[in-house]
């Protein structure tokens, strides 16, 4: 074989291999081409082996060309292999396609009871304002529930709070206010006393859409030197804005509670209609949320403080109605029925 023929063969071989590699459809075919063009019995291999028989002057040039062809074919094979491999992986992934619109799979978490969510929000708001949240008992003596709160026997205010009796002078507390006395007695003579106490209370009486014999209140008490009605208004406003929203206004109206003097009924501007009037505020733009006032001197005395030295304010707010309003629960019975169809919704 002459040198010219060798060179031609190499070029033809290269052209042929280029075409074959480009046309190879799968990795197996490519493997065959690799054997065919670069294998031990391939023409190129034989030709390289037979280079020794070529004239010495031509050997380097032909050797270089043969090696060039070999390298080119190697790299073409590699490139095509990568190309084919990725295409194959791609098509395999296509086979793994999912219906991404099917629902996800995870256990649904449970929900906190709507009342307890309001409880928590109130608690958090007051903690952020520097109040100590205290615990308090639910079965109380007549003394702590009434006497020490300036409601002696036969006081007409007892009609406002008909109580459940469980023993001689032992009642289910009708209000969260007994914690005022218990906390003051624990604290005296230190000031300030700043407490908040959410808890459950019980009253005999109506059992209807808005009244349940068991319900919940949050009590707040602030006793210190120099405390006045304007402080009460300030703390109420701060609370209302934090709880109902920054636009909220508060309004105080004179009222009566045996354990406060002066006493006030407190309204907030309706958080749902912002005062323009809606179903929830019955068109008035205001919602009555709590009773408040300056701690009655007799109550301070029962708590172990001298009303000539300190003054204080207190208020009590119903939690159930807040939860009812917030979550649109029209009947208070639903609050304690624990109907899962409701609990899952709200």
């Amino acid at each position: 074989m002459g040198e010219y023929a060798v060179e031609t063969q190499l070029r033809e071989l290269r052209a042929e291999a280029r075409g074959a590699i480009a046309l190879a459809e799968c990795l197996a075919a490519l493997q065959e081409l690799e054997v065919k063009y670069l294998g031990r019995r391939a023409r190129l291999t034989t030709m390289l082996r037979s280079l020794g028989q070529m004239p010495a002057g031509e050997r380097p040039r032909l050797g270089q060309l043969a090696n060039e062809v070999r390298r080119e074919l190697e790299s073409l094979l590699e490139a095509r292999r990568t190309q084919l491999a990725s295409g194959q992986a791609e098509s395999e992934l296509v086979g793994e396609r999912l219906d991404v619109t099917l629902p996800g799979v995870a256990a649904k978490p449970g929900k906190v009871h709507p009342l307890m969510r309001v409880w928590r929000d109130v608690e958090e708001t007051f903690v952020s304002m520097g109040f100590e949240v205290v615990d308090g008992r639910e079965v109380e003596t007549d003394f702590f529930n009434f006497e020490a709160l300036n409601v002696p026997q036969d006081h007409p205010a007892r009609d406002m709070q008909d109580s459940f009796y469980v023993g001689e002078d032992i009642v289910l507390r009708t209000q969260t206010s007994p914690v005022q006395i218990r906390t003051m007695r624990r604290m005296t003579p230190r000031t300030p006393v700043r407490l908040v106490h959410p808890g459950r209370v019980f009253r005999r009486g109506d059992d209807d859409m808005t009244h349940s014999p068991m319900f919940h209140q949050v009590e707040c008490l602030y006793v210190d030197k120099g405390i006045g009605l304007t402080h009460l208004k300030g703390v109420l406003l701060a609370f209302a804005r934090s709880f109902f929203g920054p636009e909220t206004e508060v309004r105080m109206r004179p009222s009566y509670f045996p354990f406060t003097e002066p006493s006030a009924e407190v309204d907030v501007s309706c958080p749902w209609c912002h005062g323009s009037g809606c179903r929830i505020c019955k068109g008035t733009g205001w919602i009555e949320i709590l009773g408040a006032g300056m701690v009655h001197p007799n109550v301070l005395r029962y708590g172990g403080y001298d009303p000539d030295l300190v003054t204080g304010f207190a208020f009590g707010m119903g939690l159930d109605r807040l939860a009812q309003m917030r979550y649109g629960i029209d009947h208070v019975r639903l609050m304690f029925a624990n109907d899962l169809r409701m609990l899952r919704q709200v």
């Binding site: 205290v134 023993g167 006045g228 304007t230 109206r253 003097e261």
Partner: protein, 827 residues
């Protein structure tokens, strides 16, 4: 308290315009007079004119009807058909013309009655809303003769009236349970003039009245009747006036209309006048038939045991011993301040009346009224208290009305026994104290002026050291007792709406939550995460739940505190466990088609130290869990989870314990009456019971109509709080590799897995880092009465790489230890 504005305007100006009225109402509310409702009486009444009867002709077709021609002045003449017969030619009657409307809303049109056109209708008092009963329905209202034909009867008769329904707080009730009291507040708020009904020349009348102890009986009255107060504590004052020739007929329509507007029923002239004066001034009066009082002697004393009285409502009552009553020498004739006796009641035969006007102690009236379950307009006024200086004034006012309305002739003289002196209260309040209390920087003089506006005498005194307000409180303001009340009056007059907003200054103390709350908030987390919904149930339940839960008579849960006065059986006992209510909730939900349930509650139980209750009970916190059926959404369409079983519940309890860092707790089989005997465990920590968990007994599940197996746990949360360990400390990452070995043991069925695991741990020693059970097999491949438990063991040394030899050695130690329990490696 119902306040007719038509009536009220007799004492103070009330604007007619709606918008001005609304402003007034808002002002009253801002002053603390809560308005529950505003009733529009006679709204829409129109076209009712005074008509003079010109002629009366028989109806051509119907003998019982008449044709009446009426002169309506500027509104012309009309002809109406009427069935009534109580009017004569020349008299003045109200006529509603076609197109007009009655106060009740009924529209009147021209109608043909038995073939004759009737253009309008003459009105009866009942049709005008001015009276009740047959008399008010059967006759036409006859107007005063001097009314001009065509006069608008709607305004003439006050048919369009607004009635305020006031919700009086106990302090307001003291001085606002009367028209005059409300008028006085309105006058103070609007600056309007107060027009008091005629004031009589009596030293006790007037705003700052006082009376010394005295016994007055003057004139002819003194010879016919007498009053003795045997109990000055309960009856500080008792006054009386006598009337002869009394006429027991009806009161005039205007008075009846006002009584109806106030929510009372007109009875007869005498009773109506007493009620009218009570509503006007606030002083209840009671009319006795003087001739039924033995010797005319009224004795105010307490009931002795065994005394009885038939009250006005016809009920024969056993009088509670000590109840205050009015008696004559023969026995009780009235329950003081509550209700009169039937025997001395004013009847059609009554000729002479003894009118009582007295002050009774609030507590006495309240107690008697409560004990007998008997309430009246009078008793509610006495219970709340009112001006003790009113008695004689009220008698004089009644006397004036009696004479003006032809009710009877006053027998000259009055009886007035003042057993305890009445005097205005004097209160000194320091100005700096008031300033602090209100947070308003008012001068003493300004405070005094505000008090004066409310009718409270006030002057500023300054002893050089402090300025003070010296207030003289009129007797009608029994609600004012001390300096703080003076503060409230100043604030009320100043206006709560004018108060500034301030925040307390001073150091901010550390705010915190109580331990119980922190623990509950922590405990909630794993339960919520596992899909459990939080419940809030009642603190009480029916004792019948104990039976439904199969609890034997001596079961500790039955040692529950009973509510003495429940409203229903549902409030029978305070709960001693959360379980009865949580199971009830599950039954309720199942009854509403919710079969899959995941619930928990943190709540208190009430544990008495002894019963009946003499000491306050313990109120520990508990946590209860109930699972039944499948979890919501778990596994979804992919791997539907099996319904909850014991291990689902146990897993939840374990997560809870883990969250609360309870270390070393153990579960032991236990039997409870309400639970499945083979599927219940006690939760223990160092030998102490922390709670229990298990499947509800099938009978209990049936009793509560639970459709599938339910699993319940109750945990003593107070003990969890006490035993909750500190959060774990990071021990560093492991430095040497782990060796893993799997061992499967065949053990007798009776061997608890916990014992086997404890043995493995003990035998494995400190190098055994973790033991995990991964398979439990019972069946043909192991011997009968045995099961196979397979464990994955992780072995690691803290200071070196373990060799296979060491691991094998540990495993053989474990195998040997298990062998002692009767177990062997599964081949």
């Amino acid at each position: 308290m119902r306040v007719s504005l038509e009536w009220l305007s007799e004492y103070v100006d009330i604007p007619d315009e709606r918008s001005l009225r609304r402003e007034l109402f808002a002002r009253l509310e801002m002053a603390g007079l809560a308005i529950d409702a505003v009733h529009d009486l006679g709204a829409g009444a129109a076209g009712i004119w005074a008509g003079q009867v010109r002629s009366i002709e028989p109806h051509p077709q119907a003998a019982q009807l008449r044709l009446v021609e009426l002169d309506l002045g500027p509104h012309g003449r009309t002809m109406v058909v009427s069935g009534a017969v109580n009017y004569r030619v020349g008299q003045m009657v109200p006529v509603v013309v076609p197109g007009g409307r009655l106060p009740g809303g009924q529209a009147i049109e021209t109608a043909k009655i038995q073939g004759v056109v009737s253009a309008g209708m003459m009105c009866s008092p009942a049709e005008l809303g001015m009276g009740e009963g047959p008399e008010a329905r059967e006759g036409i209202l006859i107007l005063a003769a001097d009314v001009a034909p065509g006069t608008d009867c709607v305004s003439l008769l006050g048919l369009c009236d607004q009635v305020l329904e006031l919700d009086l707080t106990p302090n307001y009730a003291v001085f606002c349970q009367s028209m005059l009291g409300v008028a006085r507040e309105v006058a103070a708020l609007t600056g309007g003039a107060l027009r008091e009904p005629a004031v009589y020349p009596d030293e006790l009348a007037g705003p700052l009245s006082s009376a010394r102890r005295r016994q007055v009986a003057v004139g002819a009255a003194a010879r016919l009747a007498s009053v003795e107060i045997a109990d000055p504590e309960l009856c500080p004052r008792y006054s009386g006036a006598l009337f002869a020739d009394v006429a027991i007929d009806r009161a005039p329509w205007w008075m009846q209309r006002r009584l109806i507007a106030a929510g009372m029923r007109p009875i007869n002239k005498i009773v109506d006048i007493t009620n009218y004066v009570m509503l006007e001034l606030g002083q209840p009066l009671h009319a006795f038939d003087l001739d039924k009082i033995v010797d005319g002697r009224a004795i105010v004393r307490r009931a002795t045991s065994g005394e009885r009285l038939r009250t006005l409502d016809g009920v024969e009552r056993d009088l509670p011993e000590g109840a205050l009553l009015i008696a004559d020498p023969s026995g009780p004739i009235a329950l003081a301040g509550v209700m009169g006796g039937a025997h001395s009641e004013v009847t059609a035969e009554t000729k002479r009346v003894f009118l009582e006007s007295a002050s009774f102690a609030r507590t006495s009236v309240r107690r008697t009224s409560r004990r007998l379950g008997l309430r009246s307009e009078a008793s509610s006024r006495f219970e709340k208290g009112f001006d003790p200086a009113l008695t004689v004034r009220a008698l004089e006012r009644a006397s004036e009305l009696m004479s003006a309305l032809g009710g009877g002739t006053r027998i000259e003289g009055v009886i007035d026994v003042v057993a305890r002196p009445i005097a205005p209260l004097e209160i000194a309040a320091k100005v700096p104290y008031l300033r602090t209390l209100l947070g308003v920087d008012l001068a003493g003089g300004e405070m005094a002026a505000l008090l004066e506006r409310l009718g409270i005498g006030a002057k500023v005194v300054d002893d050089g050291a402090t300025e003070a307000i010296e207030a003289v409180v009129p007797t009608r303001r029994l609600d004012i007792e001390g300096p703080a009340d003076i503060g409230e009056e100043i604030a009320r007059a100043y206006g709560y709406d004018r108060l500034e907003v301030a925040l307390p200054d001073g150091p901010m103390p550390a705010a915190s939550l109580p331990k119980s709350r922190v623990a509950i908030l922590r405990g909630q987390r794993p339960l919520l995460g596992a899909g459990l919904h939080e419940m809030v149930t009642f603190a009480y339940h029916s004792p019948a739940e104990f039976d439904r839960l199969r609890l034997p008579a001596d079961h500790p849960w039955r040692r529950a505190i009973e509510i003495v006065n429940p409203m229903s059986d549902e409030q029978g006992v305070l709960r001693t466990s959360l379980v009865p209510n949580i199971v009830k909730v599950a039954g309720y939900n199942a009854g509403h088609g919710v079969l899959d349930q995941r619930l928990f509650e943190f709540g208190r139980v009430y544990l008495p130290s002894a019963l009946p209750l003499h000491e306050l009970p313990e109120e520990p916190w508990r946590c209860a869990i109930l699972v039944m059926g499948r979890a919501e959404g778990a596994g979804g369409w992919q791997r539907p989870e099996p319904p909850a079983d014991f291990y689902t519940l146990k897993g939840l309890v374990e997560r809870l314990l883990d969250e609360m860092a309870i270390r070393g707790s153990a579960f032991r089989p236990v039997e409870l009456p309400l639970a499945h005997p083979g599927r219940t465990a006690a939760l223990e920590l160092a030998g102490e019971r922390l709670g229990w968990l298990g499947e509800l007994h099938p009978e209990v599940a049936e009793a509560y109509e639970l459709p599938q197996r339910a699993y319940v746990a109750e945990i003593d949360w107070d003990k969890i709080m006490v035993n909750s360990a500190q959060p774990p400390v990071f021990a560093g990452l492991p430095r040497f590799p782990v060796l893993e070995r799997d061992l499967a043991f065949v053990v007798p069925l009776g061997l608890p897995a916990a014992d086997l695991m404890a043995t493995i741990r003990e035998a494995g020693g400190t190098l055994l880092e973790q033991v995990e059970l991964f398979d439990v097999y019972e069946g043909q491949q192991v011997a009968l009465g045995h099961r196979s438990l397979a464990f994955g063991l992780r072995l690691r040394a803290p200071d070196r790489t373990l060799t296979d030899d060491t691991a094998d050695h540990i495993c053989s130690q474990i195998v040997a230890a298990v062998a002692e329990l009767g177990g062997h490696l599964r081949s």
